[in-house]
Amino acid sequence: MATATLDSPPAPAEAPIPTFTVTMMVRRFDPDVDEEPRWQDFDVEMYPTDRVLDALHKIKWEQDGSLTFRRSCAHGVCGSDAMRINGRNRLACKTLMKDLDITKPIYVEAIKGLPLEKDLVVDMEPFFASYREVQPFLQASSKPEKERIQSASDRARFDDTTKCILCAACTSSCPVFWTDGQYFGPAAIVNAHRFIFDSRDEASSVRLDILNDKEGVWRCRTTFNCSEACPRGIQVTQAIAEVKQAIMFGKR
């Protein structure tokens, strides 16, 4: 059996599973040494079923322990390892080697628009500051005995935007955010959308007011980079358009 199996960790198999050598170009930056970020290349032996995160692990564990990146769950849930892979924002743990062109080097660098801390780690604080500003929590005055009842269709209204894992892949793919760090960014608007269109919430007008700002939804230039970058497949630009319409014509 020569085909690749789902055994992602390279367990010593009886039949040889084909491997290939991949060149990883990683944009390194050590604030103690470097003035500017620099590219460094590593050759790693990979399986087709391995992910970019596995390649980074191999580099860190076997070649250069100083390589710095964030990751926690490694299964596309925690949203820690968003990075720019071959020029596009992706989660390293959800990008398979076989989906990339391995005849060329694979370029990995930190996400754009947030202050670079070290190697692939950026300062996420401006991102979370915008997130906090839209009041991303349920605000309801009712005190029900058990739960706040919601119909299935009311729940479905904001289902798409509940999927956000706050990885910042969308916000750091936005050309407006790169040049204007004051812009709330797609992720904050997505999380505002999640509560604005929640029938149980009572503060949607407050959030719409916050987003009806020079640096709010009107900064969106519909480049669709966010929708294409989202690892959860959230239709981000659609959500922003719905918030724009809610500001202009009220909720529907």
Partner: protein
């Protein structure tokens, strides 16, 4: 390590480090926005000149005619062609953006609409440019 990182968060020491790496590989949406911005700025500068030259008619008809006659050369003719091509893209793509914002299915069909914009743009250019360039290079209509 964790303590060090926490301290860098509060001091914002690395704020001047702007990562400039590979060009972001956006899709049709991003490039249509880039083109929209470029054509928009170009049209804006044309409008500045256009307001000035049209205002010459208030100065005197002679001055207006003098300015207009300086436009009658092949270089300005090529510029006019570029201007109309830029306006056509900006206009069609502007309609696409309006539909994205106001039509509930706009975001879903944005890519299809982009290719429709490109098709209309090519058709419009094919209809306009040959006739206009023939006029420009045959000197006078």
């Amino acid at each position: 390590m964790a303590i060090e990182e926490a301290s860098t968060l509060t001091t914002a020491r690395s704020s001047s480090k702007r990562p400039a790496g590979t060009l972001y590989r956006g899709n049709t949406g991003m490039w249509s926005w880039v083109l929209h911005r470029i054509t928009g700025v170009a049209i804006y500068f044309f409008l500045l000149v256009h307001v000035l030259d049209t205002a010459m008619i208030r100065v005197s008809p002679g001055a207006y005619d003098a300015v207009m006659s300086t436009y009658k050369n092949p270089i300005m003719g090529l510029g006019e062609t570029a201007l109309v091509i830029a306006i056509m893209f900006h206009a069609f793509n502007g309609l696409r953006i309006i539909l994205i914002d106001f039509w509930s299915k706009g975001a879903k069909y944005q890519r299809l609409m982009f290719w429709i914009v490109i098709a209309l743009w090519v058709i419009g250019t094919a209809g306009f440019a040959p006739i206009h360039l023939a006029n420009v290079f045959s000197e006078g209509h």
